[in-house]
Structure formats: structure tokens, C-alpha cells
């Protein structure tokens, strides 16, 4: 059992020391603007904020990647959760963005109403709906398909929805039978379909496919990014946040009902959906530097498929924060 009080105190003390020590040397923003990805793993940063670890923080959910990019570029967002390729892309393009931690591994999966689908080979000739075309989910899907000897453009009828919510609604309602979804959208679709008497299956977990072919512990998919300017003002912040994220993860796993309630408030994910999604979301906390080998393998895979996704190269060494 986690001692919540000690956890909160530890984080508060660390942050207070950090901000207090640096406040004289550099001006800190009065309220930290934090943007969270609408995914299950964002609960860790939400927990930190709920616990008062980031006093005065303004919490907001970003609604599509472009919205987050705009906020980062305009320096309106100093701390965020996002797919790990997004901060890498911005950093490679010269923006002062660092990756603090990986907090969620691969949570993309094929959800289908067709019980005969168990692997990529079973998708041959079938209609498959993905989302965020040309972005990370599309690229990971293509990479995993290639690992399995499948060419999505030739071997299946691939369609794209603009957003995961659209894809989830389309598979839940029966407009399509098979879709690539991330969590919590996969869980949301399965539960929504069940209400209507429609059975959906988690047919293929791309994390499993990745591990089977690439080894390691899977796809370092969701990370915490930070504006470099914030580090100048509070150089100890990474270590403090990492400690808090570890404790937040322990709290979430030990208190799933409370975490679900928090998800309803902070992430706009209904508690039943969050509870269902939690078991499929692969929560982890690794510093970016710890996760670097896996991140670079992930980035290399994306670069092979689409060099522009990371401006054609791996991020520099100073992109990865933490010990």
C-alpha cells in the first residue's frame, strides 16, 4: 500500500525546494500551463497536479496533435504528455523541447467484431480503419504489418478516420468491423458496443507484435515533454517530477477506483472506460535517458517509414532528460 501523504509531501517538498532555490535567479511563470494527451497514461501527470505537486498549474487536454504543437511553439505550454515522436520532431526542428520521461508503452490494438481475426494475416482482404493518417499510429501500424509480412496498402482495404474518437465510434456502431485504436478509445468502443449487444474483440495488440519482432519491452509510445526554458528556471525539476511520476504510477495501480474518478474529472474519461483501459495501457515510468535505447529503436522504425516524421534524424543527446 502506498503512503499517499508521504508521497505528496515528498513531491511538494522537492518542488518547493526547486522553485524556491531558483526563483531568485530566474523568473518562474506564475502558473504552469500543462497539456495532457487524452489517453490513459496521462493520469500520472494528472495525479501529480491533483496532489498539488504543481501549484497553480493550469490543466488542459489537447484535442489533436496540431493543437499541442501550436501551444508548444507559442510557449503557452511548458509541460505536456504526448506521443514520444512529437517532442522529438519539434526538437529536431529547433524548438527548445526535451523529453522527460516515458509513461506509457504501446497501447495500439486492432479491435474487431470479427472473431476470426487473431493476427495480421487474418486482416488480409479485410477493411481496416485507422486514425491520425501519416502520423504515429499509422506508422506503427505499417511497421508492425511489415514485420508480419503484410503490406497494408495492397493486402487490406485501409481507411483512415481523422481522430481516434471517430474510429472508435465507427467500430462501436457497426459502421466498420475492424479498427486500429489506442487506449482508452479501444475500451470505450468495446464498452459502447456491448451496450448495444455488439461484441468487439481485442484481436491484435501491436505492442505484442513489436516485442515479438524487435525484442525489448515494446513501444515507448507516450511521454512527458517539457519546455527547455522551464529547465533553466528550475534545473532540478526533472528529477523531482520523475520521482513524483513514479509515486503517481504506484498510486494509480494501488487505487484504481480513485484513479478512475480522477480520470473522469481531469481526462474526461468515464470511470468504467478508464478502469477497462487501465489494464491495457502499459503504464510505466522511465526517464527519457533510461528509455533511450527503446526510443531510438522506435524512432529508427518511424524514420525508415517516413523520414519527415523526425526531420530525418534521431534527436540529439540533450533531448533525453533524467538519469
Amino acid at each position: 500500500m502506498i503512503n499517499n501523504t508521504l508521497s505528496r509531501r515528498a513531491v511538494l517538498a522537492g518542488l518547493a525546494a526547486t522553485f524556491g532555490a531558483s526563483a531568485a535567479a530566474a523568473s518562474m511563470p506564475s502558473g504552469l500551463d500543462v497539456q495532457l494527451a487524452p489517453t490513459t497514461a496521462s493520469i500520472l501527470l494528472a495525479r501529480l497536479i491533483q496532489d498539488g505537486a504543481l501549484p497553480g498549474a493550469n490543466l488542459e487536454l489537447w484535442r489533436d496533435p496540431d493543437q499541442l504543437r501550436a501551444a508548444i511553439i507559442a510557449h503557452r505550454c511548458k509541460l505536456f504528455t504526448a506521443p514520444t515522436n512529437l517532442p522529438a520532431n519539434l526538437a529536431n526542428r529547433g524548438l527548445p523541447v526535451k523529453l522527460l520521461a516515458v509513461i506509457g508503452m504501446g497501447h495500439l490494438m486492432i479491435v474487431t467484431a470479427d472473431p476470426s481475426i487473431h493476427n495480421f494475416s487474418d486482416l488480409v482482404g479485410k477493411q481496416v480503419l485507422e486514425f491520425f493518417p501519416h502520423d504515429m499510429p499509422d506508422l506503427v501500424f505499417r511497421a508492425c504489418a511489415a514485420m508480419e509480412g503484410i503490406n497494408p496498402d495492397k493486402d487490406m482495404r485501409l481507411y483512415a478516420a481523422g481522430m481516434p474518437m471517430e474510429a472508435a465510434k465507427m467500430v462501436a456502431s457497426g459502421q466498420v468491423d475492424t479498427a486500429l485504436l489506442s487506449e482508452p478509445w479501444a475500451s470505450a468502443a468495446i464498452l459502447a458496443a456491448a451496450k448495444r449487444g455488439r461484441k468487439l474483440y481485442r484481436a491484435v495488440n501491436l505492442q505484442d507484435v513489436w516485442i515479438q519482432h524487435m525484442g525489448g519491452d515494446g513501444i515507448p509510445m507516450l511521454g512527458v515533454g517539457i519546455d527547455a526554458g522551464l529547465l533553466e528556471a528550475a534545473p532540478d525539476l526533472p528529477a523531482t517530477l520523475l520521482a513524483g511520476l513514479h509515486q503517481a504510477k504506484d498510486w494509480v495501480l494501488a487505487n484504481p477506483d480513485s484513479a478512475a474518478a480522477l480520470a473522469g474529472q481531469a481526462l474526461k474519461i468515464s470511470p468504467p472506460v478508464f478502469t477497462e483501459a487501465l489494464g491495457h495501457s502499459q503504464l510505466v515510468v522511465k526517464s527519457a535517458r533510461q528509455a533511450r535505447p527503446g526510443l531510438e529503436a522506435f524512432y529508427q522504425t518511424l524514420l525508415k517509414l517516413s523520414p519527415g516524421v523526425l526531420d530525418g534524424r534521431l534527436p540529439d543527446d540533450d533531448f533525453y532528460l533524467g538519469a
Binding site: P38, L61, R63, D64, P65, D66, Q67, R69, A70, A71, I73, A74, R93, G94, L95, Q127, L129, E130, P133, H134, D135, D138, L139, R142, D153, L158, Y159, A160, A161, G162, M163, P164, M165, E166, A168, K169, M170, A172, S173, G174, Q175, V176, P184, W185, A188, A189, L191, A192, R196, G197, K268, I269, S270, P272, V273, L305, S306, P307, G308, D311
Partner: protein
């Protein structure tokens, strides 16, 4: 006549469409200015985009926080196309529609004719002493039909929907009466009005085919004769007296017959575009209690729509219809007004209409929709003399549960 159509409803998630558009533009602009060539379009092949159907949009996932970047009104059908979309299993859609149709100018074939021409050249069914047919002496100059419709649709299964629609109608006709039995001297004008419940339509929709871009379903309805066919009106006679008599066929509130209403509906959607076509028929199964039935009606409608911003869709529509003359006659519908002649009903019409549909979710009213459609005929070839259509406008409020 005067049949209104079920509107569609496109519930949507709350969106911040304008904000998203602005942010997207800002992102791209800043990346471009900063020398970053690409925001998020990378090197993979193009994949056809799909957007959720109305049924998909209506699915509650229990997850918020992510707006629809694709237009919420995608897959929109014009407000006046009856039974054009289906609702998912267990869902109910209700709607209220108001339609105003204005008729003006008398047509014979595709030509307009003046009242003076009608009263001097068109013989009525009335016979004067000596056996000569008397010319019509009362000519309608305009007619306004207002219809209030309440409708409901229920998804028994995803494949089978039931629907019901009741109407309340108000009709008014302005007529010009010519003096005596010949000549073109105008004696005066009169207005007649009727109001009450119209016919009631019950029906089912059966889905034949659906894929992410295309949808095809069968419509089958029955129009039940709940509207009166014995309404009376008062009009000025050529002798200067006010006569109260059974209103003409077009002024009755119902048809008096049970009508079969088969139909076939196709809708398509891709990106912000939507399109579709619908056939509707209306065939009386027998004469009504007064001894007549309306001629067969066949309508074909095609439309295209584009969602400019999430939740706001405009549509353009073309309607074509062919209807036969009234068969049989009500012996109590008689007189020197052209509308008393059952031969002067039906014809061919082509109309163009434009519409806009706004999802209530843009204003925090999830599951609701406001739709407006308006237009008028571009071609009319009528079994005249009879009044032609001038313009029509309809407003629909819909809500889904």
C-alpha cells in the same frame, strides 16, 4: 400533396472547431516561418478518409476531451427528404418540422395562363340551360399551405427502424371571382381557409447495405387517412352571393385513402462531402369514401452537401416528381372553380432547393439539430389549369435520445 419529410439528425460531440482551425493554421504558419517544412504530413501513402455516419456520431463512448476535426454534420441529408437516415438500435429520434409552401400563377402544361384566359376559354363541368358548358368563373390566384409535423423514429435494430409522422395543416386560398357567366369583369375576391390534422404516415426502414462510405436502405410506409376530406369553404359566387360548399380537392386536409409509400434511399459520404439520392412513391390502394383517389406520385431527389466547419453543413438539392390526375370524383365537390375538376391535378415538376443544417452540439445542445431548407421550381408542366408552386421553406428541429 403537402407531404412533409422526416428530417435527419446528426448528433455530435462538443467541438471547438473554430479554435482547432485557428490553431492548426497557426501551427502550420509557425512551422513554416521557422524553417520546419512539415507539421504532420509524412511520406506514407494516401489512405482514403472516412467519417462517421450519423449512427456512429450518436454513439456515446464515455470519453470526452477530444474534438471531432472532421465535420460533425458529415453525411447530412436535406431536411425535407423523408426517411433518409436510420438510427441505431435502441435509439429514438423525434422532430418537429414547419413547412410553408406558397403557390401562385396558373399553369396549363409548362405555360402560365392568366385568370382572364381561364374564365373565357376553359369549360367547366357545369352545364347551362341549353346544354352548353359554362366556363370557369372563379380562379385561384394564390394558395398557402402551412404544415406542422411531429415525427418519431425508433431503431428496433441497426437494420430495422420504425417511424411515424403526424401533421397539422392550415391551408388558405385566395380566389378571384368574375361576374356573371361570361366576360372578364372581376366581381371581387374571396379567401377560404381550412385547418386540422392531416394524414398520418407509419413506416419502416430496412437497411440493405452499408459500408463506411455508402448506405442503402429500403423505405416502406403507409399513409393512413386521418385527415378530413369533407372540409367546406365559403367563396364569392359569380352572382355576388357567398356560397358555402365542399372545398376543392387541393383544399382538403387528407387524401381519404390508405396509400402505399415505397422508397429507396442511398447516401454517401467522404471527407466533408456528402451526397445521396432517394426515390419515393405514393400509391393509393383504393378509392376513398367519397369516390376518388389521387394519382400515383413518383419522386426522385438528389443532393450534395458540404460541411464547411464542424457541425455546419450546406446542401444543394434537386427534386423531380410526376403525379397523375385524380381518379374518380367527389360529387359534392362541384362549381365554377377550376379546382373542383379532378382532371386539373398532377403533373411534372423539377425544383431546386438549398439548405443548411446546424448541429446543436455547437451550442452545447448535444443530440439536437436545426435544419432549414428553401427553394422553388425551375420547371413545371401541370395538368392545368392549376396553381403552380412558387416557393417553399421548411424548418426542422430534431433531437435524439
Amino acid at each position: 400533396m403537402g407531404e412533409q419529410r422526416m428530417t435527419c439528425m446528426q448528433p455530435a460531440e462538443p467541438v471547438r472547431g473554430m479554435a482547432n482551425l485557428a490553431l492548426r493554421g497557426m501551427t502550420l504558419a509557425m512551422l513554416a516561418c521557422g524553417g520546419a517544412a512539415q507539421a504532420q504530413t509524412y511520406g506514407t501513402s494516401n489512405v482514403p478518409m472516412l467519417t462517421p455516419s450519423a449512427a456512429s456520431m450518436d454513439t456515446d463512448l464515455g470519453v470526452g476531451g477530444m474534438a471531432m476535426t472532421m465535420p460533425a454534420g458529415h453525411g447530412t441529408t436535406p431536411a425535407d427528404v423523408q426517411g433518409a437516415i436510420m438510427v441505431p438500435a435502441g435509439k429514438v429520434m423525434v422532430g418537429y418540422s414547419y413547412m410553408n409552401m406558397d403557390m401562385a400563377k396558373n399553369y396549363i402544361g409548362d405555360s402560365t395562363v392568366s385568370p382572364e384566359t381561364i374564365v373565357t376559354t376553359i369549360p367547366s363541368t357545369m352545364t347551362m340551360a341549353g346544354g352548353k358548358k359554362e366556363n370557369y368563373r372563379i380562379v385561384p390566384s394564390s394558395m398557402e399551405t402551412q404544415m406542422h409535423m411531429l415525427k418519431a423514429m425508433y431503431g428496433v435494430t441497426d437494420r430495422l427502424n420504425l417511424m411515424v409522422m403526424g401533421t397539422y395543416e392550415q391551408k388558405s386560398m385566395r380566389m378571384t371571382t368574375f361576374s356573371g357567366s361570361m366576360g372578364t369583369k372581376v366581381l371581387g375576391t374571396s379567401n377560404s381557409r381550412v385547418s386540422g390534422f392531416g394524414d398520418t404516415m407509419v413506416g419502416l426502414l430496412w437497411r440493405l447495405y452499408q459500408d463506411p462510405e455508402n448506405h442503402l436502405h429500403l423505405n416502406f410506409g403507409l399513409s393512413l387517412p386521418s385527415g378530413s376530406i369533407t372540409q367546406t369553404t365559403t367563396m364569392l359566387s359569380p352572382s355576388g352571393k357567398l356560397m358555402t360548399m365542399r372545398a376543392s380537392y387541393g383544399m382538403q386536409l387528407g387524401t381519404g385513402t390508405v396509400d402505399a409509400e415505397p422508397g429507396l434511399t442511398y447516401t454517401g459520404q467522404l471527407h466533408a462531402w456528402s451526397w445521396g439520392a432517394a426515390y419515393r412513391g405514393r400509391f393509393a390502394l383504393d378509392d376513398n369514401s367519397e369516390g376518388y383517389h389521387y394519382g400515383d406520385l413518383n419522386e426522385l431527389t438528389g443532393w450534395g452537401g458540404y460541411s464547411w466547419i464542424p457541425g455546419v453543413t450546406t446542401t444543394a438539392q434537386i427534386d423531380g416528381s410526376i403525379q397523375g390526375r385524380i381518379h374518380g370524383a367527389d360529387p359534392l365537390i362541384t362549381g365554377l372553380m377550376q379546382g373542383t375538376n379532378p382532371r386539373f391535378y398532377g403533373g411534372k415538376q423539377i425544383s431546386l432547393l438549398g439548405g443548411v443544417e446546424i448541429a446543436g452540439s455547437r451550442f452545447g445542445l448535444k443530440g439536437t439539430q436545426l435544419a432549414i431548407v428553401a427553394g422553388g421550381p425551375v420547371y413545371q408542366n401541370l395538368n392545368g389549369p392549376q396553381l403552380g408552386r412558387s416557393w417553399q421553406v421548411g424548418v426542422t428541429l430534431g433531437a435524439g435520445f
